[in-house]
Amino acid sequence: MVFSGLKSSQLDALMEISNVGVGNAATALSQMLNTSVEIRVPSIKLLEISDVPEHLGGDDKAVLGMFLKMLGDASGNMLFIYPIESAERMVSLLLQQDLKGEELFSELALSALKEVGNILASAYLSALGTMLSINLICSTPSISYDMAGAIIDYTLIELCSSEDKALVVETEFFLRGNEVKGNFFLIPDPGTLEVILAAAGQGK
């Protein structure tokens, strides 16, 4: 029930923190790929657990999903979701060669995508950690090409043993205009929110 009691000033603080985090991640990605990266201002939503899969683009939709854990002074789950065409183009950009269909699931292609996830998540957490003076790191990424609902359900299962709702920080990013698009989600663990809010001067 932690999430339902959030004040709007606390949500604003979370948004501000996330904004700096995703800005830092965009810069890192832009440098890595030597291309322009645009990022939407993040949104924060409190969703019914049963509505989260639909919010991620549809429970049945085939996507490339990458999953990382936020660890350290605060914990939670981070998720990158790419439409499959975007994942193909991202890999082509990274490896400087055209890959399609099954080739996308080669060791090389998957590890290139994981590397991007790792860099984005690390840049995001490093900005958050610096701003809040707390220590945050991320786990190595796990990757899967599957239905969005199936990719997210592990996170929701962890959450639903203590919560009715999920707090979802979401942003969308674009590379080279509209060529590659992806979504980033942060779903903090309930106990963690207090740590983040206290560090942001928004504790109870």
């Binding site: 899969p53 429970d59 796990s142 609902g149 199936a150 592990y154 639903c160």
Partner: protein, 163 residues
């Protein structure tokens, strides 16, 4: 004249009951389990999208569909209310994958525990499990027909299986 069937969607952490000729659908099962209970005599059945094995003692009714034990009990109670005898009811299950096998704790993932728990409960109340497609590292979507009692399971990489 053939009666038009309605497709009824079951979200994660929910269950629905319906009768002939309708179809119950639940999508994107990863570690979650899709469980159907069906009474062929009456042509009625229920489908649940279960998240966790066992409920705590004091779970609120609105959270019954989340857990294998409370979801099975709740569907069973509704089917009986509509005239079912427990001896006529059969079960099928699908799902319970490990989407990210490297995240498993203690060697057993929550998907596997969901399946084991659901099977254990069905056995203890003597409801036959007449079909299952579980495990692996991939997601499944399920359509359950109250006309035939068939469960049609679709995945991205492994096509369609009917149980």
């Amino acid at each position: 004249m053939v009666e038009e069937s309605t497709i009824i969607k079951v979200k994660i952490a929910d269950y629905k009951i319906t009768g002939k000729p309708n179809i119950l659908v639940t999508n994107g099962l990863g570690s979650c389990v899709g469980l159907s209970l069906y009474d062929e005599k009456l042509g009625i059945g229920g489908l649940a999208h279960i998240m966790l094995p066992q409920s705590k003692n004091d779970v609120e009714p609105k959270f019954f569909p989340r857990y294998a034990d409370t979801a099975i009990n709740a569907i069973l109670a509704e089917l009986k209310e509509q005239g079912s005898n427990q001896v006529d009811i059969v079960a099928k299950i699908a799902g319970g994958a490990s989407m990210f096998p490297d995240l498993k704790k203690d060697g057993k993932g929550v998907g596997e525990r969901n399946v084991e728990c659901a099977m254990g409960i069905l056995a203890s109340i003597k409801i036959p499990l007449i079909g299952s497609d579980t495990g692996g590292d991939y997601g499944r979507s399920v359509e359950f027909s109250t006309m035939s009692g068939e469960m049609r399971i679709r995945s991205i990489r492994h096509g369609i299986i009917i149980i």
